[in-house]
């Protein structure tokens, strides 16, 4: 690899955001090199500065941001000195291409696929429309879009999310760029599609000899796709090196903590590690270790001095601890094994019998009615005290089922029995005492106009339980349970982090002391380290309060971590149901097998690249 030329070299990149409260250095002193055909993964949680780095390279920074760098060179030519016009003409889209996260919004809905694909090539690369069209067809075929000629005249809404992302990739390849920047390219996609897209990117990279920067929060995705990895935290690269080395033998306390937070698919699930706290906003000059506020091994000197960079150009980390000292640190993940409660007998707490749901939609007043069979004879039983996981991809009907189970939407056939009673005929108060939901997005599940105290006490309010004093006491009790400090009582949701908000949502659900929590993707909007905190919290609450969980998720690793039994949903049907361990180890249905084989695994790093 050493003889390959360096495609991209970034030296001391800095991005400063001018905010109302002061200057925020979103990226500080970031340097890395990339050789032809090499892929680097930039990993970090939200707010770590990874996307800012990508946007800075593409000059797509928001208006309040200022960019500074010692040097940014593409194939030996400085690109940070080019003016914006030159950059837009000859670099962006020509030599560097970008793939964005949201395929639903990154294509313009009013132009045909063909026009969007060929526009830049005709405008800037000087291809004739005919040649550009031929190349577009060739590329669409290459990225695995069936009937590419026909597709050229179609519009983005006629394509699925995975297909749109393939089109985006084809568009990025139109001008044979030397570097592709992919910012969370598969985060919005289903896991089976994610696997295909990642594989496609890897193949294309080999075929065209492009370098790639993959930006992601998902360590497992990095593990199976890139050569080297840079871990970012608080705007800095805290550790970098060859992918398998960093993942198998992390040095920086943050990397160690982060890896301990990731639920693994192999072996018995263990309690997840936790990085306490949240990413701090670092205003002004930072003359201390960025991780010092959350580090378990922090020393006084870390708070007053920048940590030294240890290691060589290949593998380095920024920490005061020497490699020998790091070797002696206790493991970041506790050794405590988790055993999801297995409940073999007993009556069902909630039972669904032959649920059907249809969605009808009619185009215009006189159009034909189309019927979508969203749920097809779904039956399941959840016993008191267990964790039942409903697994499936988007469109499988799992959220529709959850709404029906919660009594929020009527079924078109079949019944739901909660504690032996039909859920629709039940008194709202009684239902609320038996079952409470926790939603995916803690940003939309809390009323932004209410304080935390009001939000948590709301169920008591609705049912007129207790007086002001007893309500306040109940709120404080439940806040202690979920680990919320008392001082946030009068905060508004917008003042809290995602993890804290999800704790508030859990507290609100718990205040009625329900038996069953229906958690719809409770952690998928959260960072890995926050996900670990919430998963641990849910496990603790179950142990202490004997709660029953219905967990709805697409994340197989989370299922492996917490579920006792699972049901796999596909196109409105349950295709496989049973004990979690058995199904995850020996799936019987073809779809379950496909699903499991698509899950990216951390362990893959070692085997693939060594």
């Amino acid at each position: 690899m050493l003889d390959k030329r360096t495609i991209l070299s970034v030296d001391d990149l800095e991005v400063v955001l001018h905010t109302a409260v002061g200057d925020l250095k979103a990226v500080r002193g970031t340097s890395f090199d990339l050789k032809a055909g090499e892929a680097i993964g930039i990993v970090g949680e939200s707010g770590s500065g990874k996307s800012m780095t990508a946007l800075a390279l593409m000059r797509l920074l928001p208006r309040v941001a200022r960019l500074r760098a010692n040097a940014i060179a593409l194939d030996g030519v400085a690109i940070d000195t080019a003016n914006d016009r030159e950059f837009a003409h000859s670099i962006a889209g020509q030599k560097i291409s970008m793939i964005f996260q949201e395929p639903m919004t990154s294509l313009n809905p009013v132009y045909s696929i063909g026009r969007q694909l060929t526009e830049a090539a005709v405008q800037f690369a000087g291809l004739s429309p005919k040649v550009a069209r031929a190349r577009a067809i060739e590329l669409l075929e290459r990225v695995g879009i069936p009937d590419p000629v026909g597709r050229l005249d179609q519009y983005p809404h006629q394509l699925s999310g995975g297909q749109r992302q393939r089109v985006m990739i084809a568009m990025a390849l139109m001008n044979e760029p030397e570097l592709i920047i992919a910012d969370e390219p598969t985060t919005a996609l289903d896991v089976t599609v994610q696997a295909q897209i990642m594989e496609l990117l890897a193949e294309l990279r080999r075929e065209f000899g492009m370098a790639m920067i993959l930006i992601t929060h998902d360590l497992a995705v990095v593990a199976s796709t890139v050569d080297k990895v840079a871990v970012m935290y608080g705007g800095e690269i805290v550790e970098k090196g060859p992918c398998h080395e960093v993942l198998a033998n992390p040095m920086h306390p943050y990397t160690r903590g982060l890896l301990a937070c990731v639920p693994r698919m192999d072996g018995t699930p263990r309690r997840l590690g936790a990085i306490p706290g949240i990413v701090p906003a670092l205003l002004g000059e930072v003359d201390f270790c960025v991780f010092s506020s959350r580090c378990a091994h922090v020393r006084d000197i870390c708070r007053t001095q920048r940590p030294p960079i240890q290691g060589d150009g290949q593998r380095s980390y920024n920490c005061i601890l020497s490699p020998d000292e790091i070797d002696t640190l206790p493991p970041a993940q506790p050794n405590e094994e988790m055993s999801p409660p297995m409940v073999e007998t007993g009556p069902a707490l909630i039972e669904a019998r032959g649920i059907h749901k249809f969605y009808r939609d009619r185009k215009g007043l006189f159009g034909k009615t189309r019927t979508l069979h969203a749920l097809d004879a779904v039956s399941l039983q959840i016993r008191r005290g267990e964790t039942f996981a409903l697994v499936g991809e988007s469109g499988s009907g799992k959220t529709t089922l959850a709404k029906i189970l919660l009594g929020l939407s009527p079924a078109d056939g079949g019944d739901v029995l909660l504690d032996g009673e039909p859920v629709n005929a039940m008194d709202a108060r009684k239902r609320a005492r038996l079952m409470q939901p926790i939603f995916q997005d803690p940003y939309s599940s809390l009323n932004p106009r209410h304080t935390i105290a009001q939000i948590i006490a709301r169920p008591l309010d609705v049912h007129r339980i207790g007086d002001t004093a007893s309500r306040k006491q109940a709120v404080l009790d439940v806040m202690t349970r979920v680990g919320l400090p008392e001082r946030v009582l009068n905060n508004y949701p917008s003042q809290m982090s995602g993890g804290q908000r999800q704790r508030v949502a859990i507290a609100r659900a718990l205040i009625m002391k329900p038996a069953l929590l229906v958690c719809d993707e409770p952690t998928s909007a959260l960072d890995v380290s926050v996900q670990a905190q919430i998963l641990n919290l849910l496990a603790d609450l179950q142990q202490d309060l004997g709660l029953t969980y219905l967990l709805i998720t697409h994340n197989i690793a989370v299922v492996h971590q917490v579920a006792s039994r699972i049901a796999v949903m596909h196109q409105g049907r349950i295709v496989e149901m049973g004990e979690a361990r058995k199904i995850l180890r020996a799936p019987e249905h073809d779809y379950t097998r496909l699903l499991l084989s698509s899950v990216p695994e951390l362990a893959a790093a070692g085997s693939n690249n060594q």
Binding site: A274, Q436, D540
Partner: protein, 302 residues
């Protein structure tokens, strides 16, 4: 096992967070537009309330010897009549001061009536959807298709003009903005998870509308309210100008402009003065509304 080790706790944000009220006050004091709006609207309200004490003359007292005096700064003006007099010799300053009463009453009254109608219909249409939405949308289309001023003129003509009739009619004709804005905002809010959470905790529709939906509409409602406040005052002016609004001798700014138009070319102050007052009130109301929105919006709470 303990529930959460201290290390598990989310860390404190760097600075201690001040109470929401203190934050709001601070934002209010930093918001120049809001302060200007408060000062303008506050002064006008005070002037209207204290009219009997502030007005130097009786606004209805005619004095033909003193008719059409110019303001004090113009040639021939005198200090007895600071802003001059009108065609029948009534003190113009006193009439402006009393006119503030009528204009403000009509502005607030009509905007309030419009708000009640528009917000009720908009929230119902947005939340319930289906046939409710269809009927409300039909009503909206019907209202939009009618020429407002003509309708108002016809109604006033039929019912008979008085301040309260004018308020009622202007209010009943100015709810469309409230409806359009609250309807779409409610549709958006309805699909939010916190509404689903409220339903799951057994909240009734009324409880959901009152505590989950309405508070989130407040900033939009405030903005539309101050906007409609200005529009209603202008509508009153148009009606009065056309002779079917406030009836003489009651002083109203719109009426004063109407009465002044005959003398527009040789006594322009008769039109300019009430015009400027009207302009100030409308600007003040809009500044106030925009300021309130910026100050109370939860986005600003970050």
């Amino acid at each position: 096992m303990t529930i959460s080790t201290p290390a598990d706790l989310p860390a404190a944000s760097e600075a201690k967070t001040p109470t929401p009220r203190a934050l709001m006050l601070r934002r209010a004091l930093e918001h120049k537009g809001f302060i200007a709006g408060v000062v303008i609207v506050g002064t006008l309200i005070l002037v209207a309330l204290l009219a009997p004490w502030l007005a130097p003359h009786d606004p209805f007292a005619q004095s033909l010897p003193h008719r059409l005096l110019p303001p004090v700064w113009a040639e021939g003006g005198n200090w007895d009549y600071l802003l001059g007099t009108d065609q029948v010799g009534r003190d113009y300053l006193s009439r402006l001061i009393y006119g503030a009463r009528v204009s403000l009453t009509i502005g607030f009254g009509a905007a309030l009536i419009g708000m009640m109608i528009g917000v009720t219909l908009g929230v119902c249409a947005g939340y319930f959807g289906g046939w409710v939405d269809h009927s409300v949308s039909f009503l909206l289309t019907a209202q939009l298709a009618l020429p407002g001023l003509l309708l108002a003129m016809a109604l006033v003509f039929i019912i008979g003009p008085s301040v309260w009739v004018v308020i009622g009619i202007i209010g009943v004709l100015h709810w469309t903005y409230f409806l359009v804005v609250t309807r779409s905002a409610t549709q958006r809010l309805r699909s939010q998870d916190f509404v689903a959470a409220a339903r799951a905790m057994g909240a009734t529709r009324w409880q959901i509308l009152r505590t989950e939906i309405l508070p989130n509409l407040s900033s939009q409602i405030i903005v539309i309210f101050t906007f409609e406040l200005g529009i209603s005052i202008l509508a009153e002016s148009s009606l009065s100008f056309l002779g079917v609004g406030i009836q003489p001798p009651t002083p109203s700014w719109g009426l004063m402009i109407a009465e002044g138009k005959q003398a527009l070319f040789y006594r322009p102050w008769l039109v300019i003065l009430p015009g400027v007052s009207l302009f100030l009130l409308v600007i003040g109301a809009n500044l106030l509304g925009d300021g309130l929105r910026d100050i109370t919006s939860p986005q600003g709470r970050n």
